[in-house]
Amino acid sequence: MGVDDVNDKPSSNEGQDKGIGDRSADKLNKVSSMYLGGKKNDMSLINDCGLSSTATTSVNFQNVENHMPFLAEGNKHGTNGTPSMRDLSNSGRAGSVLSFDLDSTTRIPHSVESSYYDDGDGSNSEEELQDLFQNLIARGDQSKLLKNSSKESKGMRLIPDISDVDMVSYNSDSDFIRKRISLSKIDDPDLFHTKLKHFFVLSAAGKPIYSMNGSERLVIGYMGLITSIISSFQESIDEEIKSVTFNNIKVVILNKSPLFFVALTKIKHEFSTSEYGEEESLLGRQLKALYNYLVSILSKSSITRSFRNRMNYDLRKVLSPLDFHNFDSFCMKLTYGFYSDEDDTQFELDFSFFASRLLNSLECSRMRNKTRTRINGILQDSKKIKKDIPKEDDSSSYFFKSETSNQSYLAPDMLFGFITAPEMQIISYLHPKNHRLTTNDISVLLSMITSIHETRKSSSVAEDSWVPLCLPDFNSTGFVHIFLKVIDLSKYVAVDGIEIPYTPITIALISGNKNNFFEIQEISKYIIDRITGSESLRNELANELTQSKSLSISQDLNIPSIKHFMFKSKQSNQFITSDAKDFTGSIDKSIVINLVYFYSNLYHSRTDGKLSALSSNRRLNYYHWVLPDNSVIGFMLIHSDYEYYCLCDGDISSSDIITNSLNIIRWCQKYKKRLFIGDGVTFS
């Protein structure tokens, strides 16, 4: 087929004399015909749907006198009562987004802002917010809240708007998922084309390193094509990230020469770009995550070294099956919020992983402050353990030895310490006073911890791991060494007559010195002894961990009308989400995919509208999706201290959304010490 035509040409120095524009356009046309060639259905589908991008009404209150956040004086349009969302949904497009941008710039002192929800003025502000929201809805009236499609639902719960693919030809969600979404490495070009999402990692010489789908033979056939897209960008080689959209496909390329990371998508919500450029778009972040993983296991300098003078170097030589599995798992979770292996025997729903990448922040383990403080204290104490002086034969030394002067710290090279619960939740974090790891680096570390966790699940052997890891932001050219130990709390509380399921916690201690495993092991023993040796602490912790596994809006917060929410504390860059099960009462792949769809749209609606200074803005936004059987409302509130996103049933009244959302936000702020670890604890 056509692929070979492109492949036959030497792609690197072809067409030097051609105009840049011509060349690029030429290539891109080829690409589009590649993917769409012989797929007339796809083409006609795009035309059939004729969906324009979502409508945005953006109102800027920059010039309005503000004396409170959310309050724009003189802006109370006379909306009577609280209109139901449903009343407003009466037209035929794919969902609409409406936004208010409230720029209060420097008018409000920061202290007022941050205490805003805590003080007695809360109700007053709530009123204003209600007004504003109704105003928003009223203004949106002309663009209407829209119905998506008239297709038969046939019991399918997947949002039809995920792609341009006509879902009528699939007889169930799982049929659609199997053909369009699930990983497949088999040698079937048709199936390969069918997939909504592709990731490729390749070398500058066009050697494939990783592909999410397709057999090796199939993928090699595409490398020429991809390198020709890349070479059409070569004119601006200094730019790290490039994207191109044609018809129903978007391609983003991250240039990390000598490697290229490519994402190709037909998923509509992945088309949006960020106001900070493609790098911060969904696809840009996904590619960065893959890149970071590769750097974390190999280091940037060793990747560069491998390819120096050997453009044909095959990087796969230094990758293990586990690495490829991790790539697969990242690609799936970043795109769809779940991972399942090819034959679908094992799958793992992991909305939190998706959320953490979407919000670019970290998830912490929910825990009472008292318990966390005790664990923090242990981590801090562990850093202070002194090394005992080896015995000298001259016993006179005993008399001259002062208690402290001859003793040095057991592990001066220990840089960071983490205690985590599974699913990458941080319980406690220790770092030097003057140095903190970036969110990126912590994510890389947590991924590695998860990877180890997974390998341990199948075995009862208690082992200590000593793992070299490159933290891309901390030092992309070298490795730190991580001591890792997983303990099962259920074994320790069993002696107290308490029965709980397998409750692993991980002790991860990071050392700058590869040779001091045994010193760090000693520190870990101290930490484990302190945690498990105290009956009260081990029970407290076991109790917290078994109870806090998921956060139920209806039970923990008693706000059942909000079905799901995510709250991110901006200061600490940490987030919490409620249990994904609450959204519909159960959870499966389709529901996770829908959550990913809703939140991706909602998240990207922040960037709609013309905004100059986003950081000083408070924004309010909502989305209304009318689906064949029901409708869903997404609501978002961005404040200088936090970001809040939620989903609820379509028939909720606008006032209920505001009231309940503010209650949730207040709850999150009130319990922030339980929900977040903040800056962690330090040593100097």
Partner: protein, 210 residues
């Protein structure tokens, strides 16, 4: 020191990726086998007390380093076999190519002066996957006559206990002698310490030996 006083015995497990090193250790420790063992990242450290069947009084604390065979960890591996008392050099009987890597590690061990005293055990893994012993003969040709190949299978358990029993049987008596001497020394000093009534209680430095 934890509980019973028995000498430590450092054992390193070497060999190409996926030959079955981790599976071997897990079969030995817990009598378990998993078709989907994940690759080791870096190295894993496990301690276990073991005595030989022949002489139940001969008991050591095996300090096992299960190393990652993936090529990218190669430069880190010497730190695990340095001062090891025994090395299990593994290759996959059903994939004789992996013997090249085993031979590489055997060479490295003999080149490295600190590993001169390291006892080397050549371990063929996954014996359940080969029908006949022909392949092994091919490998044997490349070894000197004295070399023994332990044929094992983590899947069936074949040869695994025998291997570790042999490992403990082979432990030099000298190690026990030295260990006992050190213990006596320590006891003597502890009683001295209490007589001198020093301010600080000093404990023998556990790391100096590693």
């Amino acid at each position: 020191m934890d509980g019973e006083r028995i000498p430590g015995y450092k054992v390193v497990i070497l060999g190409d990726t996926s030959v079955g090193k981790t599976s071997l250790v897990h079969r030995f420790l817990k009598n378990e086998f998993n078709e989907h063992t994940a690759n080791t990242i870096g190295a894993a450290f496990i301690t276990v007390d073991h005595n030989s069947n022949v002489n139940p009084n001969k008991r050591v604390r095996l300090e096992i380093w299960d190393t990652a065979g993936q090529e990218r960890y190669r430069s880190l591996t010497p730190m695990y076999y340095r001062n090891a008392k025994a090395a299990l050099v593994c290759f996959d009987l059903s994939s004789v190519d992996t013997f090249e890597k085993a031979q590489y590690w055997l060479e490295q061990l003999s080149l490295n002066s600190s590993s001169e005293d390291t006892k080397k055990y050549i371990v063929g893994t996954k014996s359940d996957k080969i029908a006949e012993a022909e392949e092994i003969d091919h490998v044997k040709d490349r070894l000197d006559d004295t070399a023994v190949i332990f044929e094992t299978s983590a899947k069936t358990g074949q040869g695994i206990n025998q291997l570790f029993d042999k490992l403990v049987d082979d432990v030099d008596e000298q190690i026990f002698d030295e260990f006992n001497k050190r213990c006596e020394e320590e006891l003597r000093r502890e009683s001295e310490n209490s007589m001198i009534n020093v301010l600080s209680k000093t404990v023998h430095n556990k790391y100096s030996c590693c």
